[in-house]
């Protein structure tokens, strides 16, 4: 590689990293709680963790309970109980009110249960999926950040020619700059496969909405709806004609028979109705089970995941009145590109491999966060600038602030358990308020390293306070907890310990050795 190519790639790697680095930190760090969304949702509501362990699921019975509770809408989604939670979740999006209606049923007896008021999991997960921005702009921004990460990785691969040496080199006692350089290269190399997978799948997930019209334009004359239906199955054509519904249990059994390796994780029912005529209503009142009818165009779609294979696009659609199968989507074995797309979601959110792989992803994501921060600090140091530069302050405020805000909302979600319906507003206020406070503090106060230390210690303390809060408010102490509650407690201890370790290793100040662009360029020329 000639010198100018190396120099251009080096500059591109640096500039792409600087422009997108802080946003990437937000996306990657918020990806850690997003990985454990289901687990956190289960943990944040103590009433749900007290249910007897059960994965029993009979669709007819579930829908009867839903009908009894007037939970019948044009389109209903059902997520059955799984290995983590012992309750079913039913929800529907109401266009008129722009809100979601949700119903929770205990899996062992299908009785309606009331979850807690915490929205912890949603607050943290939505930051990763949409940055809390209106759809679809948030996911587009995240997709572009993913693409920037991909570009930085590609340039990074080509500029690091001495990778064998860099795999094991960490000169921690020479200088701050060398330490940053070695740490950046070391983490970058070790986490390369993970970072590449994350960036590629994240880019596809974020920008899929943007490229869908292009693909539909080429293959379906610009009809995105037609393309979506060809891939994911048809939508219900509601006619208004109500007929008796086919047995939902029979359809569930049929799907399981046809897809024995799949665990159903989502059911979408469109066109189901409660009894429409006066005669039916009389019958319904005298009966314990309401009469379920279906629109003649109603459909039901079962989707599931392979627990062991990378396949997320396996769904079967049936007619609700006849039980006839009208669409089957299975991209496993249907060509390499369908396989790639089917693997995107499981690869990104670890819907395979179990809890230990999730833990590995979480630790790798933490390493990537370190990579981003060291990249920004390195960029400043190589230009003879220090942490007081606006980029250093912004990195500190946004990145360390996000860590602090995440731990603040985790702790507050436990201590606010008794605050009633206002809990989720308080949680949101604490999350955004503490993050903003950190950003303002970093921009105002000049001692960046001192603030870093306080934020790291504060976050670790909040991690411990979360466990104490869970014990005091919900009587769930690590020694009397089990399953995912215990894992979350251990995860908090591990995370807090990591933060204290970083606090211990991070210097309190750095010697201001003049390091100019000229020196950096000379070194670069030498390396090339």
């Amino acid at each position: 590689m000639d010198n100018s190519t190396h120099k251009t790639l080096y500059a591109t790697h640096g500039w792409v990293g600087i422009i997108s680095g802080i946003l990437l930190f937000v996306v990657v760090f918020s990806g850690i709680p997003a990985l454990f969304e289901n687990e956190m949702e289960y943990w944040q509501s103590p009433s749900l963790t007290q249910l007897p362990k059960s994965q029993a699921f009979e669709l007819d019975s579930v829908m009867q309970t839903a009908a009894k509770n007037d939970f019948i809408f044009e389109e209903i989604f059902i997520s059955p109980a799984d290995e983590i939670r012992s309750h079913h979740i039913l929800w529907s999006y109401l266009k008129e009110t722009d809100k979601y209606e949700t119903l929770y049923l205990a899996a062992h007896n299908n009785e309606v249960i009331t979850p807690g008021n915490s929205e912890l999991a949603h607050i943290l997960t939505e930051l990763h999926t949409s940055l809390h921005l209106p759809s679809p702009y948030g996911s587009y921004i995240i997709g572009v950040a993913g693409l920037a990460m991909l570009l930085a990785i590609i340039a990074g691969i080509f500029i690091h020619t001495k990778w064998r040496k860099e795999f094991v080199m960490l000169r921690e006692k020479r200088s701050w700059r060398l330490l940053l350089t070695d740490q950046h290269k070391l983490i970058g190399l070790w986490s390369l496969p993970f970072t590449f997978i994350l960036a590629f799948t994240g880019t596809i997930l974020g920008l899929l909405g943007l490229i869908s019209p292009i693909l539909a334009f080429a293959a379906f004359n610009g009809d995105v709806e037609k393309a979506t239906q060809a891939i994911l199955g048809p939508r219900a054509q509601i006619t208004g004609e109500a007929l008796p519904s086919y047995s939902l249990n029979a359809l569930q059994a049929q799907y399981q028979k046809d897809n024995p390796n799949i665990q159903v994780d989502l059911i979408a029912i469109s066109g189901l109705q409660k009894s429409a005529t006066a005669q039916d209503k009389v019958a319904e009142q005298s009966s314990e089970n309401p009469v379920l009818l279906s629109d003649s165009g109603g459909i039901i779609k079962f989707s599931g995941m392979h627990g062991t294979a990378l396949n997320s696009l396996q769904a079967t659609t049936y007619q609700l009145i006849s039980g006839e199968q009208i669409h089957h989507a299975n991209f496993f074995g249907n060509g390499p590109f369908q396989r790639i797309f089917a693997a995107v979601v499981p690869l990104h959110y670890v819907f395979y491999g179990g809890g230990w792989l999730k833990l590995f992803y979480a630790l790798s994501a933490l390493a990537v966060c370190g990579l981003i921060v060291s990249g920004n600090m390195l960029w400043l140091t190589r230009r003879g600038l220090n942490e007081r530069h606006w980029l250093g302050r912004s990195t500190l405020g946004v990145c360390a602030g996000l860590v602090f805000a995440t731990f603040s909302v985790l702790a507050s979600s436990m201590w606010l358990q008794k605050s009633g319906a206002e809990q989720h507003q308080l949680e949101e206020g604490i999350f955004w308020g503490s993050w903003l406070l950190c950003i303002v503090s970093a921009l105002i106060f000049p001692k960046g390293f001192a603030i870093s230390h306080w934020l790291l210690r504060g976050s670790a303390l909040l991690g411990v306070l979360t466990i104490v809060g869970d014990g005091v408010m919900n009587q769930r102490w690590p020694w009397n907890s089990e399953g995912w509650v215990l894992f979350i407690h251990l995860g908090l201890v591990l995370f807090s310990a990591t933060l204290l370790l970083v606090d211990y290793l991070l210097p309190h100040k750095i010697s201001q050795k003049k390091s100019t662009e000229k020196i950096a360029t000379e070194e670069l020329a030498k390396a090339a």
Partner: protein, 94 residues
Amino acid sequence: MVWFKNIFNGTASRVCAAILGSLLATVVLTIGITMLWPLGDTIEKVFAGGVFFFVIWAGLFYWAILSKSGARAWVKVLGVFLPMLLIDVYLLRF
């Protein structure tokens, strides 16, 4: 005209070619690939286009940014964009 030449040959122009020019070239290339992909059914063609989109964008980005000047970068991306645009128009019309 000298100022225009300077701007056109400058780094900003090169970066624009690498980001925007390569995006436009990627869009027409993706449309072409989706229509011409020889293997599999329509859904496989759509997914092939979807995967290639990101690979091509990243590839064209670096091909353009590694040019000696902005003008060369634009020549590269337009060299892909214009012929592919003609092919797309031909395929969509006939």
